[in-house]
């Protein structure tokens, strides 16, 4: 049985990755998870300099999900290269570095700094709903997305994954723009922008007022968007949004995702990534599937 998947020439031992921001750089979860068993670790977003993030409260629980407004707190690329990359290099897994910024120049600085680092891919976060500074429009505007992707591709030494926001009218338009800019792969969905009001205190629950909704509650939206995008572009799609079990992951794969990320589930089940990988293997055995790749987008042929 062959669980390997190939994304832009990078071969992952299995399709299970961690969603950026839910797994740190792997260290905190290494007490629960054997990182060698993951297809890839996608690190928390890193910027050119340290970011302090938003005021607290930064999270709140919602029905079947949660909202966060962490605000991309991170130590900056220098500490990341010195500490987090060597840590992850101890394991037999691929390293995908999530890159964030407030402006194109900041992204480019990080991408350039990573050029000679032993990481396998870059994931560009153009879609975090919690970063303001007038930058929200970036991942929501097709021209901006194409332009930024092209600029990054010019200097990146690793394959580039563009991470898309679901907070748009037509996600396929943004996906096509990223592809036109030269993206090697797309990942989706980031969180859905939401809001929660504390009715007793008559104010916002989150200090940031809005937050990104994640968890099982958003899964049907995510599956639909992955299906749409996978049918709109030729580059591989990495699916995420509420994956907690192998069955969840398989929905995304059957809808057209080449690989999947486990995110919020890590918070309530630290073993989730390994369980998803094992469950996919069981499924393949049960359905007599030789190669995982055979399952990708199979819903299109079973209509």
């Amino acid at each position: 049985m062959d669980m390997r998947v190939n994304i832009a020439g990078v071969e992952l031992k299995n399709p299970v990755m961690t969603a950026s921001g839910t797994f740190g750089s792997g260290q905190e979860y290494s007490e629960f998870v054997d990182l060698n068993r993951l297809g890839a670790v996608v690190t928390k977003g890193v910027a050119n300099v340290p970011w302090a993030g938003n005021p607290t409260p930064r999270i709140t629980e919602t029905y079947g999900g949660m909202m966060n407004a962490i605000g991309l707190q991170n130590p900056g690329i220098d500490v990341f290269c010195k500490r987090d990359i060597p840590y992850l290099k101890q394991f037999d897994t691929k390293i995908i570095v999530n890159v964030c910024g407030h402006a194109p120049q900041e992204y480019l600085e990080v991408v350039e700094r990573l050029a000679d680092e032993p990481v396998d891919m870059l994931e560009i976060n153009i879609s975090c709903p919690n970063v303001t500074a007038g930058f929200l429009a970036f991942g929501q505007d097709a021209r901006n997305v194409e332009e930024l992707t092209a600029q990054i591709k010019k200097i990146a030494r690793q394959p580039v994954i563009m991470k898309l926001t679901p907070n748009v009218t037509d996600i396929t338009e943004i996906a096509r723009a990223a592809e036109a800019g030269g993206a090697d792969a797309l990942s989706l969905i980031n969180t859905l922008t939401g809001m929660q009001i504390d009715v007793e205190r008559q104010t916002f629950v989150l200090a940031n007022k809005t937050g990104g909704l994640s968890g099982p509650a958003i899964k049907p939206v995510a599956v639909r968007m992955v299906y749409q995008v996978a049918n709109a572009v030729k580059v591989p799609v990495i699916g995420m949004g509420g994956i907690a079990t192998a069955a969840d992951a398989l929905e995304f794969i059957l809808a057209g995702a080449t690989a999947v990320s486990v995110g919020t589930a890590n918070f309530y089940n630290p073993y989730a990534t390994m369980e998803v990988a094992e469950g996919i293997e069981d499924y393949m055995r049960r359905h007599k599937v030789e190669r995982l790749a055979e399952l990708v987008g199979i819903v299109n042929t079973h209509m």
Binding site: T22, G53, R58
Partner: protein, 260 residues
């Protein structure tokens, strides 16, 4: 590095101490072996609409019998803590722990210590009082009705503060400290932010070493999600800003380390 684990634990007993305050003993041998006072566990509901664990401090740790005690407040109707309160002996609950750093016991050895708890910050002071080796002055503050007072009396000299004046000093824990003219070489405290702020100020004015256990909304409980940060005086080791993680760098901090 500590040995954290997530496991299914059997409830040994559940008791209502006061309206809205419950005490639960849990079978958790491996966690009980590792845990120290001031640490907490994440407790998970069986309700799939409520994903996130509830972080609850350890009130007692019986290493020999492999048991943990949590004393917790039901935070409202339809909440996760309300679901916990309806569980009975023999039911199971998923827990993860031990989490957080705990109170440093060595620092307080053979010293005059003040252990201060306020409201639902009272329970974690019990295991600390049991394990601390020194002169123990226990100052516990309540709004009105009191809980755990018998257990505290067996582990030190107990001073009470109640907002309604029903027992001990009428007022807060600082009022009780002043009224009883208590002095100390070291302070350990857990309670609401205004209480911790007052204790931090008192400790720093009197140059007393002071450890405070902080609280913030948490998601992962293990230091990965960066939800539960508090403002720190120095640059933090994780993100190199001024945000220490309550769940991982704390929940116990030196009062001089954090802004409250």
């Amino acid at each position: 590095m500590s040995c954290k684990r997530k496991e299914t634990s059997v409830i040994v007993s559940q008791e209502c101490l006061l309206p809205g305050i419950f005490s639960m003993w849990l079978e958790a041998g491996e966690i009980a072996k590792e845990a120290v006072p001031g640490q907490f566990i994440s407790m998970y509901t069986k309700d799939k609409s409520k994903l996130l664990p509830r972080p609850i401090s350890l009130c007692e740790i019986d290493e020999g019998k492999g048991l943990l005690r949590v004393v917790y407040r039901v935070t409202g109707e339809g909440t996760g803590t309300e679901q916990f309160s309806k569980m009975v002996k023999g039911d199971t609950v998923d827990i993860m722990g031990p989490l957080g750093n705990g109170f440093p016991l060595e620092e307080g050895k053979e010293k005059r210590a003040l252990l201060i708890g306020g409201g639902i910050g009272v329970p974690p002071m019990l295991e600390l009082a049991k394990r601390l080796d020194g002169e123990k002055q226990l100052v516990m503050g309540y709004r009105d009705a009191q809980f755990l007072t018998k257990e505290f009396e067996q582990n030190g000299t107990l001073y009470l503060a109640t907002e309604d004046g029903s027992a001990g000093t009428k007022g807060n824990v600082m009022d009780a400290i002043r009224e009883n003219a208590l002095a100390a070489d070291i302070i350990y405290a857990c309670g609401p932010s205004p209480m911790l702020r007052a204790i931090k100020q008192y400790a720093e004015e009197n140059q007393i070493v002071c450890y405070v256990s902080m609280e913030e909304r948490m998601a992962c409980g293990v230091g990965a999600c960066l939800a539960c940060v508090c403002e720190s005086k120095e640059i933090d080791g994780h993100s190199h800003v001024h945000n220490k993680r309550v769940c991982k760098d704390g929940s116990v901090f030196l009062s001089t380390e954090v802004e409250i």
